[in-house]
Amino acid sequence: MDSARILDSCYLALPELGMLAAGCLFFLLGTMIENRRFWAVATVIVLGLALVFQIAEANDPETSGNWLLHGAATFFRFLGPVLGLIGTALLAPTGSGQARRGPEDFACLLVACAGVGLTGMAPDLVVLFLGLELVSIPVYLLLFLGKHDRQGQEAAIKYFLLSVLSSALFLFGASYVYGMTGSTRLEGLGGIHENLRWSETAPGEIPAARTLALLFLLAGVGFKITAAPFHFYAPDVYQGTSPAVAGLISTLPKAAGLAALLRLIGAGESALAPFGGVEWSLLWILAVATMTLGNLLALWQNNLHRLLAYSGIAQGGYMLAAVSTGGQAGIGAMAFYLAAYSLMTLGVFAVLAYLNDPDCPVKRVDDLAGLFRTRPIAALCLGVCFVGLIGLPLTSGFYGKLLILKTSIASSSSQGNSLFLVLAFFIVFNAAISAWYYLGVLTRVFLRLPLGPQAKPISPLPLCAAVACSIATLAGGIVPGLIEPYLRPVEKATAQSVAVDATVVVTANGFAGAIEQAPE
């Protein structure tokens, strides 16, 4: 590879590299400049520049270079900085007790946003792994920086150890994928059948090693998405940390995990029968288990952070369901729902961050009682976001659920497989269950009287973020037509990348054939 191509690749990944570089710079210069407002503004500028670059470059999608710059990648590269901007508003205010001056948390935020983008555009297992780690490692630091008490430290070590375990699982799967395909390129994944010659399998049969590799990869990614058997750390971690950090953990790693999932199965799609492959049945089971378990366990929660953690688990189940339907429309629906979920959840956490006062903490659901009487704007934001999470009309949550349900019904009738109808039923029942605990919170916010002294917000910034999230939630529900065009490239381009993959598979076959004949 010559230097011109390397420069080209760097240019195409400029926003992510820029965010990474800025993050490193923040870490270095943080010791010299202690003005937190300065760093907050600098973060906003970096993220804004990244977004501007994306918008400028989005018009000519190139598949050249070392990146896979298709629509899904563009989506995740947008999502990262947008979530980062809201996250900056959540992180910016400092409590009176904790005198945080340095920019470390902003630096972590920048690196994590870059990680989401890199995961989404990864052409290679190495970049995919690095992208995921670039999301995980800053999150350990955020967890540690977010709260200095014992609970915060416990949350940090829990998340850290389990995250290391999950990357080990992911790597194990990745090593077998490499062994089977002979390449770490993701396009090669589709060729697993053809390239596999070191284990004796009849043609057309799915080799056990492939299933094993997929299981491990899914487990590794499942930790990030908080899918059902790998979800158990989430409530503890959310409970132990501040609302701002909990909001970021509920969105950034989930986005990165789903991006990785799309890269893994989206790239291999051409080689798989629609529901014949192991992936789809695995994803189906994962989706159903995740949403059901998350919603049922959320019913028993009193702690707001735990409740939101289980709610996040359940909502992740809906997204997995959308992916498991297997079509391009499903991926588009997932993308819409992911964006909607991220904004709604960040909106809720923004309100909690706004009310975060060490003197009268908002921890239990009852602490929100009578919020509408004391802080109507915060309460309205909370109302909009929760109504969206329930999936009532005129919110992006409703439209996202509509898309997911539509996709599952459509793929059921187009593939002749009623399992997707069962999936739709699970989604509907889960939506009904989730209404119970979401409405429980809303009842306290709007119908009860305040119980005790009310929190005194430190800074209006999180409230602004909450208002922005609520407006976005409403806009996504009232005029989804505005957002829909941007999902078209996600769907279409995945189809494109499938076409690209097919050609790669063909060349890989030719290559393998050449090797086969060579020794003789």
């Binding site: 009532l392 349900l405 002749g416 009904a432 209404a435 009842t443 119908l447 989804p480 037509g481």
Partner: protein
């Protein structure tokens, strides 16, 4: 497009926008005035559009009628970017009467609320205006997505109205109501999506085009497609909870008892009809084949059960509001039977019954509210001998009670009679006899508990001895009672306009059901 069709979107928009505006005023009388005037304006518009529709239908019938020939339409295509759904509104025989009823009862609820003691009254009236607007939108929608959106969104103002201004157990009651309705609503959404996706593959929610395809599509079965029977049950789930029918009713007595009386009146007179209307418009028109087979098998027992169970519970009720709540379950079961006959007599009768029940039950609840204002209780143990103290009010109460019993010449008689006649005309012999006995027992019990109620409340010894409570009817009270009383008598004596309004649609439904029946027989 006719000139006054441009007014169609204003019918729901006026109360909605007025309600939104009222949320931000500080002044109680300003808030209630704005909502009241806007609701009255939209009633006026609705009357104009309905008259116009009748003229168009008459013209269309001269040229040979189709399902929606001459149906006024108004389309706003841009709202959803033209991609998903355009907002299609229209008045046809199915919703004309109900739109007028909604406007009327909505306006009267606003008037009736003027006597209530309310905190943050501006918010109360604002939410009431929003509720009225959304209900009107649900009735006017000619598009399943808009219908569903409005249907679900009514829950938000209801949740806040019942939960903030209701009785002592208001929060639990309102939570229960919303969760029941929401759970059913999600199932309905799945059913609607299944209809839409399986019939056209995309997301075209237009009711008219779906209804035209219905007879062909509903019989199609293929692997991976949702069975039409299942779709029918899913669609009905949300509406059955909304009416409510008996096994799904347990939210209703608590909600009716806890809600402020004007809201209860709106709930019972209008929103319960939204459930029946949804069953008719979505389930019956879009799945006529399933409606005639599975619908009859499943819904008829539920309807009869509701009639009997509601009547028994009403007989055992200890206060006026829960008596009316259970009585409402019982009466709406009869209307559902009328719809299930799938012939013109039954369906037209059911439309009349719905309107009559709306007028009468609103009248009963408003008089109950006035009684509560004067005496401070609705428990039968605290009331008695009211006839002597509130003479005019008692007279109105007797009028509404007699109408709800089904005295000939008053509103409800014609509807009940036609519903039963229509159903017996279409049912098989054994089933018809069984159902007829059930319904007659229900009507008999209805007479019993209503007359007993009158006796407990109006006659007998006076239990309360405070003199200051005996005041006559005020202007607002007259404004509420006179229109409802007049309508009760007029609908009883001259039901023809209501019956003929839905002639085209009920005839179409009858033909569709017969067509699918014959095609099913032929395929065997």
């Amino acid at each position: 497009m006719d000139w006054n069709l441009a007014f169609l979107p204003f019918i729901p928009a006026l109360p909605f926008v007025a309600g939104l505006a009222a949320l931000f005023t500080r002044n109680r009388s300003l808030a209630s005035g704005v909502v009241l005037i806007s609701t009255l304006l939209s009633v006026g518009l609705a009357i104009a559009v309905t008259m116009d529709r009748n003229r168009l239908v008459f013209d269309a019938e001269l040229n040979g009628s189709a399902l929606t020939a001459g149906q006024p339409h108004f389309e706003v295509g841009a709202l959803f970017g033209g991609k998903i759904s355009s907002v299609r509104l229209g008045v046809d025989g199915l919703n004309a009467g109900l739109v007028l009823l909604t406007g009327l009862v909505g306006a009267l609820s606003v008037v009736a609320s003027s006597g209530l003691k309310l905190d943050h009254a501006n918010r109360y009236f604002g939410l009431l205006g929003i509720l009225i607007g959304l209900t009107l939108l649900a009735f006017l929608a000619q598009d399943l997505l808009v219908f569903y959106v409005a249907f679900e969104l009514t829950l938000i103002p209801l949740f806040l109205l019942v939960g903030s201004w209701g009785g002592p157990n208001r929060q639990a009651a309102s939570l229960k109501m919303v969760i029941y309705t929401l759970a059913g609503g999600f199932l309905t959404l799945l059913g609607i999506l299944a209809i839409v996706v399986q019939s056209n593959g995309g997301l075209d929610f237009g009711w008219e085009s779906l209804a035209r395809k219905a007879a062909v599509e509903s019989t199609l079965v293929a692997p991976g497609r949702m069975a039409p029977g299942l779709i029918f049950l899913l669609v009905c789930a949300g509406f059955v909870v909304k009416i409510p029918l008996v096994p799904f009713h347990s939210w209703q007595p608590a909600a009716y008892a806890e809600a402020p009386t004007p809201v209860t009146a709106f709930l019972s007179a209008v929103l319960a009809k939204l459930g029946l209307y949804g069953i008719l418009r979505v389930a019956f028109f879009l799945l006529p084949g399933e409606a005639a087979t599975l619908g009859v098998t499943v819904l008829v027992p539920l309807a009869v059960l509701s009639i009997l169970y509601g009547a028994f519970c009403a007989y055992g009720a200890r206060d006026l509001k829960s008596l009316l709540a259970y009585g409402s379950i019982s009466h709406l079961g009869v209307a559902l039977l009328g719809l299930l006959s799938f012939n013109r007599v039954g369906v037209e009768g059911a439309m009349l019954h719905m309107l009559a029940h709306g007028v009468i039950t609103a009248g009963m609840l408003f008089t109950a509210g006035m009684l509560f204002e004067r005496e401070g209780t609705l428990q039968f143990s605290g009331l008695g001998g009211m006839a002597a103290r509130h003479k005019l009010l008692s007279a109105f109460m007797v009028l509404f009670a007699l109408a709800s019993v089904g005295v000939p010449g008053l509103a409800q008689f014609g509807g009940e009679f036609l519903c039963l006649m229509g159903f017996l005309g279409s049912a098989e012999y054994g089933q018809g006899i069984a159902v007829a006995f059930g319904v007659l027992a229900g009507i008999f019990l209805g007479g019993w508990y209503t007359i007993t109620m009158l006796q407990k409340v109006l006659f007998g010894p006076l239990k309360v001895h405070e003199e200051n409570s005996a005041r006559g009817l005020g202007v607002a009270d007259w404004a509420i009672l006179v229109p409802l009383g007049v309508l009760t008598i007029v609908l009883g004596l001259w039901p023809k306009p209501v019956l003929s309004a839905s002639r085209v649609e009920s005839g179409y439904l009858e033909r569709q059901v017969q067509r699918t029946e014959t095609s099913r027989l032929a395929s065997r």
